[in-house]
Amino acid sequence: MTKENIIKPENLVYKKSTLLNDNAMHYCPGCSHGVVHKLVAEVIEEMGMEEKAIGISPVGCAVFMYNYLDIDWEEAAHGRAPAVASAIKRLWPDRLVFTYQGDGDLACIGTAETIHALNRGENIAIIFINNAIYGMTGGQMAPTTLVGMRTATCPYGRDVHLHGYPLKMTEIAATLEGTCYVTRQSVHTVAAIRKAKKAIRKAFENSMNGKGSSLVEIVSTCNSGWKMSPAAANKWMEENMFPYYPLGDLKDKE
């Protein structure tokens, strides 16, 4: 059988989302961002919201998300994406408005904007990539860096006496009256990817149905920042991240 005989429309079982363009991603091999970008693109397309989606990209590795998904984008200042999204959604209620933020952006410099947007019950969805490190700036300590974990700014390991404890923003979000759906997922296995996609879909649908705020945390790897191979990073995440950041729904008002 030749290649030409195989590549036919009737044989297609999978295709790339039309929203994902052909720009080469700047992410390191093994990074979780690429997978989550794909899921966001697929969900928007499957919901038929291509013309109504407005994404807010953060400051951090995902700042250039606007280069990969062909929808309208706003690039927010560090941590301010939930405020940016709040205003857009209030002024354009029929648009799908979501933010995509890392741990430094969402759980450190943007803590106030995150908590208050969620607490107001803004009809937005927040995708929160938690890889326990500042990736873009070269691997510094994040608010979610685990105790004992080594980074460029805690080279001897995170010490609670010096740095305090890793912040569980998703647990905090679940306590807020304005949130309707708060969940923690990962994308390190095919099964996990499927579950994460369902979570993103639910969060996006909630925002369009006026149910309030949704937060989807994706516990992720940063193999470059963690200085591990992609496979080793996945294993390390399972053994170290998941016990502190357990996967599953924290809140579902449905």
Binding site: E51, W73, I88, R90, E113
Partner: protein
């Protein structure tokens, strides 16, 4: 129908004028002496009439980023604050300038530095006219000196902001925000429809219609060659604004031998000082910059030719005087007079300053 004259505070005039001129949204945070802007909007409930969104943000930082978000979709939005709060907004203002978004920022100035005082001041002149945040950028800065101008400058600021895709600022001191005067509010202008916004702002990120490229609002560009070109583009726009949008008012300058340069409440004090001085036989005139940026350099240079001295009257330690000196080609005597920390000078002090500093 006769125009309706209403007695109100300057801050109220801003809020009521914004509703009437078709503003889509306001995002603010309480701070004295500007809180009446948010209070008036909350009382007026424009979301029930024009559909305008009003939201009390969790901070000035959040409020300016809400403005950034909404402005990037082509909506006509504004925020207001007072000096310490406007300092907090500077990062967002820099992003708005960098992304070339139209919006209005109102600063009802109070005395600083730091938490300072809640009394009036003009000590944010440098911050407003020279940049304020990081990077090379300019705001179009309008300086009202009456409640009527507070009302009138809202739509003017929005018009200029959209014309040039640039943030505009109304810079008023606490006197102008708090004092009550009679004013006529602008006529109602309906909010733009979605179709009108998309037609007016084809660059805006409000949902990618089929057939067009994604609209991406960002101030980020890591390639220095492209980033320099962006800066060159911004500077060319600023030169265009300088050429077209200088506004100022001349009062009794024709026969004047001494010139007061003042804006905002100081211009009002200056007008009374002119009256007192002229009763004493001293011919004084006033040049009131209405746009602080672009600054009326040429007008001041032109007027200086028949003056014996210039007094720059400001509620600060001497900020606008630097621009007045930049304007002058000759070494005509140019002095500053002003009070700081929330003190407002009385007109006699100004006349004394002319005698002491310019006539001796």
């Amino acid at each position: 129908m006769a125009e309706e004259v209403v007695l109100m505070k300057g801050n109220e005039a801003i809020a009521r004028a914004a509703i009437r001129c078709g503003a889509d949204g306001y995002f603010g945070y309480p701070i004295t002496p500007q809180s009446e802007v948010l209070e008036t909007l909350a009382e007026e409930k424009p979301w029930e009439t024009t559909g305008m969104v009003v939201l009390q943000a969790e901070s000035e930082v959040a409020a300016i980023n809400m403005v950034y978000g909404a402005a990037a979709t082509g909506k006509m939005v504004f925020t207001s604050s007072s000096s310490p709060g406007v300092s907090l907004k500077q990062e967002g203002i820099s992003y708005i300038a960098g992304a070339e978004l139209p919006c209005l920022i109102v600063n009802i100035m109070r005395g600083g530095p730091g938490l300072g005082t809640i009394q009036p001041s003009q000590s944010d002149y440098f911050q407003s006219t020279k940049g304020g945040g990081h990077g090379d950028y300019r705001l179009i800065v309008l300086a009202p000196s009456s409640v009527q101008e507070m009302a009138d400058f809202v739509s003017l600021a929005f018009d200029l902001a959209f014309k040039y895709r640039n943030p505009a600022m109304i810079l008023a001191d606490g006197v102008i925000g708090q004092m009550m005067e009679k004013a006529v509010l602008p006529p109602f202008r309906p909010r733009r429809t979605e179709e009108e916004i998309i037609a007016q702002c084809p660059w805006a990120a409000n949902g990618k219609k089929k057939g067009r490229k994604p609209n991406i609002i960002t101030s980020l560009e890591l390639d220095p060659v492209i980033m320099e070109q962006r800066n060159i583009h911004l500077q060319a726009k600023y030169r265009e604004i300088e050429k077209n949008e200088v506004r100022c008012e001349e009062i009794q300058c024709e026969d004047a031998e001494y010139l007061i340069v003042a804006f905002g409440s100081c211009a009002r004090i200056g007008m009374k000082a002119i009256e007192i001085a002229r009763e004493q036989g001293i011919k004084v005139g006033l040049l009131r910059p209405i746009t602080l940026w672009p600054f009326p350099y040429h007008k001041i240079e032109h007027l200086s030719h028949h003056m014996k001295g210039i007094l720059v009257l400001e509620l600060n330690a001497g900020q606008m005087i630097e621009d007045v000196r930049l304007a002058l080609q000759s070494n005509i005597k140019t002095v500053h007079s002003g009070r700081m920390g929330g003190i407002v000078p009385d007109p006699d002090e100004v006349v004394d300053a002319i005698k002491e500093k310019l006539m001796k």
